[in-house]
Subunit: 211 residues, 2 copies
DNA sequence: CCTGGTACCTACTCGCGAGTAAGACTACTG
DNA sequence: CAGTAGTCTTACTCGCGAGTAGGTACCAGG
């Protein structure tokens, strides 16, 4: 990057998008601390003072990245999930949307999951918010469909486990990108819906054939 | 820490243990980058050159921490699991051992899970090794007990999801420490053995009453 | 053509933290 | 009571990266 001399004049909004894209890229590859403002400005194709003029300090920039990517992801999932369906179908559509997003936005996922969570302070809070939304969605799904009345704590911890399983499987997927998203999603669906107990007996969950 | 002037003379082995303990503590609280060698030496109650004399560079020190804590953890689980038992009992004993360890070694867990995995390079590899051992253990358990012959990839990804669920639930537990380890372990056991499908119908897994 | 305003740049300051040189203190060994 | 081996310290160097001061190119409207 940054071979030509001076950057072309561009309206502020466009520049800001470029910078954000560059920042997500660099943060995802290097992590918050190891990423330098010099490198980000370099990848963005501008000079350092522009970074500060537009997006403020390094911490502000990082927080902005988290917020933008988290919002994109939440929206992708919210759009994908089909309400007013049976619980298993709701879960299935949610999982598909999640893995679909991760597959097409690896860098975003890296930043959100690996970087944000390992930084202390306000960043973790930023992420905890997103995660909390996912967890309570699942917890609500579980609570409303279960027959045995579960405590809030129970539902919440189960949801945390499920969300964590999804995150982890997504990480695993990064190392095995040859698998299609649908297959990975189906595996997780089987694990959390059927359980090992059924799986070892050969009982498998299948998506509904039509809708 | 570090109020008195000069530290008492101690044999090398003892000092090294002190330093390692201090390093795990600081790394777990601050993360690899934010942790400074000055602070570690301060907490350990000695001066910085001693750090370098005994444990080498910052990266070497961190890697040594990872290795030590990972080994302690693997051993705790290996000791806890009961082979020659039914698959569900094996899994159950493994989960109990895992949550037991995390409960009594929060700092170790923080370092292993949060810090090591978010640092690139050799640290991630160090951790991937430990994680790989856990994953293949579970994968073997699953493969040998399943009736439908599953592919390696399938077993491995399911195991990754399970291990991830455990890691995530352990993280959740850090924020809800009032819950006893056994209860948390039982929740995960139910999720992965029974599955939501059974749980919403009120079917629950119980540990065998005697042994 | 001049006058401003805004996007953009080069070239710094400055603190923080990894790593080290050189020496002081302690304790055992003959 | 040396001598010496290993523990421990103070007090530095030095590079890297966050953040900035001050100036340059480019585009309006007059």
């Amino acid at each position: 990057m940054r071979t030509e001399g001076r950057a072309k004049r561009l309206p502020r909004a466009v520049r800001e998008r470029q910078i954000m894209d560059a920042a997500v890229d660099v943060f995802s590859r290097l992590g918050f601390h190891a990423a330098s403002m010099d490198e980000i400005s370099d990848v963005a194709g501008i000079s350092k003072p522009m970074l500060y003029a537009y997006l403020g300090s390094k911490e502000e920039l990082f927080a902005t990245c988290i917020r933008r990517e988290a919002t994109r992801m939440i929206e992708a999932i919210a759009t994908g999930v089909e309400p007013d369906q049976e619980p298993d179908v709701q879960l299935w559509s949610g999982l598909r949307a999640f893995f679909g997003f991760v597959g097409e936005n690896r860098a975003s996922w890296q930043v959100l999951h690996r970087q944000a969570s390992s930084q202390g302070g306000p960043f973790a809070a930023e992420l905890a918010d997103m995660r909390g939304r996912a967890v309570s969605l699942v917890a609500a799904l579980l609570t409303q469909s279960t027959k045995a009345p579960a405590t809030t704590l129970e539902a919440e911890s189960l949801a945390a486990a499920l969300v964590g399983a999804g995150e982890s499987l997504a990480d695993w997927w990064l190392d095995h990108p040859e698998e299609p998203a649908g297959v990975v999603a189906a595996r997780l669906m089987n694990l959390v819906w059927m359980g090992f107990g059924d799986l070892v007996d050969g009982n498998v969950w299948h998506p509904p054939s039509r809708r």
